[in-house]
């Protein structure tokens, strides 16, 4: 077996599948990176009865699957998963190892990086291979999100990064796809310190923000809870979803599940209308992939206009009311 031909790895995080698509998104990005490096993309899948996830990853572009289908791994356990993933990295020596910046990915990857004494870039919003130097450049918000930092790991391997869901677009499902399947040996597993007694699904309704084709985002400049509620009217008229910036969430106008940006979700809608948002990097990190951006802000010098395809300088409440009125008239 040639161990040198699969140098880009993705951790297969299947919790909450099919809602959680970040692994599929990373496979697509990993495949593009692998292509530039002349190698293949592999997915590490740990658990019990993982067949359907393995097949989904193959259908979405995985070239190689590294799998352990074992009762000892039936629950997400960060210590066991760290031990297995780290030992496999030492066997196969991938150059790059990616995971979604999910609750588990954020817990698992620092431990693996520590175990392997390598670097980790957290919550990345862009990944690319520098064509001149060949370096793997991981772009991540820094200094509280005021800057975007390009990080490289010149010496240690693998180069590890966690990435926000919604940053990259998954490849279409290909039922004809075939991949190589590898069952590496399991290391001696540490004793399980946590026993999962039961699982309970969160009751709160989660907005399908990351899948919406149209997203309306409100910031502090919307002005009030009553004004913010108009965003939902506009979203309903356009068949979209509502997102919020951190100040709007902190003001209690929207729940945490609608938060966009560095500490929230990332979206890539066809149309994003952003109202009363200044354009802070913490927020724009989550909307960079949007196809068309329309910005509404009273301040004509607001940074958000630098990102927008169309800018409207005006009062958020007035523009919102006009938009709703006009759409009601036309639809």
């Amino acid at each position: 077996m040639d161990r040198g031909t699969c140098l880009v790895w993705v951790f297969g995080d299947y919790a909450d599948y099919f809602q959680n698509r970040v692994t599929l998104q990373l496979i697509a990005k990993g495949k593009a990176l692998a292509s530039e490096l002349g190698t293949r993309v592999g997915v590490v899948v740990l658990g019990e009865d993982i067949g359907q996830y393995v097949m989904e990853y193959v259908a979405h572009g995985a070239d190689v699957i590294y799998a352990a289908d074992n009762n000892a791994l039936k629950d997400y356990d960060v210590e066991l998963f760290t031990a297995v993933a780290a030992s496999w990295v030492e066997i196969f020596r991938p150059e790059i190892f990616l995971a979604g910046a999910t609750a588990f990915g954020r817990e698992l990857f620092p431990r693996i990086a520590k175990r392997l004494r390598t670097g980790l870039s957290a919550d990345c919003v862009a990944l690319e291979i520098d064509r001149e130097t060949g370096a793997f450049v991981q772009t991540t918000p820094a200094f509280g999100g005021d800057l975007l930092a390009d990080v490289v790991t010149p010496v240690m391997r693998p180069q590890m990064a966690t990435v926000h869901p919604g940053i990259f677009r998954e490849l279409p499902h290909d039922p004809f796809a075939l991949a190589e399947l590898i069952h590496p040996p399991l290391p001696n597993l540490p004793e399980r310190k946590i026993e999962v007694v039961r699982r309970r699904k969160e009751k709160a309704r989660r907005a399908s923000l990351t899948d919406a084709g149209v997203v309306i985002v409100g910031g502090k400049g919307v002005g009030s809870r009553a004004n913010f509620d108009k965003l939902f009217q506009l979203a309903e008229l356009l068949g979209g979803e509502v997102g919020a910036t951190r100040p709007a969430v902190n003001a209690g106008w929207a729940g945490e599940e609608r938060l966009l940006g560095q500490t929230g979700k990332s979206v890539r809608p066809r149309l994003l209308i952003t109202i009363g948002t200044s354009g802070a990097l913490q927020y724009t990190a989550g909307i960079r992939g949007s196809e068309t951006v329309i910005a509404v802000n009273r301040d004509h010098s607001a940074p958000i206009f630098g990102l927008a395809d169309l800018g409207i300088v005006g009062d958020a409440d007035r523009i919102l009311s006009l938009l709703i009125e006009e759409l009601n008239r036309r639809l």
């Binding site: 359907q52 097949m55 989904e56 039922p175 075939l178 399947l181 040996p185 001696n188």
Partner: protein, 159 residues
């Protein structure tokens, strides 16, 4: 610590055998006139029912039956083929299970597993039961990554 095991896996349908997914596999030679074989054929997207063929024997090497693509073609020992909601099962006239297949359907794919015990014409064990799943005995299986294109014994004889 056991070694590295590798193979292939399909996005559409796989068989779970010996603890691994495989898109298809073959043990023995379907082209032989009398010998044991087990063919779990590769399925293309759009095909939802696994195609199993084989010539099976009992532990003394006496022939039990021949199955071609899920159809009982030869049945010298009066075995029973019974479709189930999830596959089929083959049993001896005594009721003893020879082979049972179970196909689990997922939103985007299928996995078929086996249970039972199969022997070749010399009475050598070829498929064994290990817990709730089956494993191939010996290293003479071939993985299929495309539908089987060869012929079956009877066709070869007539050709």
């Amino acid at each position: 610590m056991e070694g590295i095991r590798s193979g292939a896996v399909s996005a559409h349908h796989n068989y779970m055998i010996s603890g691994m997914l495989r898109p298809g596999f073959l043990v023995g030679d379907p082209g032989s006139a009398k010998g044991f074989y087990l063919l779990a054929d590769f399925l293309l997207p759009g095909e939802n029912t696994p195609r199993i063929s084989g010539r099976f024997f009992d532990e003394r090497g006496d022939m039990l039956l021949e199955l071609t693509w899920n159809r009982l073609m030869l049945d010298p020992a009066d075995c029973l083929y019974r479709p189930t909601p999830y596959g089929f099962h083959l049993s001896k006239s005594s009721g003893e299970i020879i082979l049972e297949t179970t196909t689990r359907r997922f939103p985007n794919g299928y996995i078929t597993s086996f249970s039972g015990r199969l022997y070749d014409e010399k009475g050598v064990l070829k498929l064994d039961q290990e817990g709730s799943s089956a494993r191939l005995v010996g290293n003479d299986s071939i993985m299929l990554t495309a539908p089987y294109q060869g012929c079956f014994g009877k066709e070869k004889k007539n050709a």
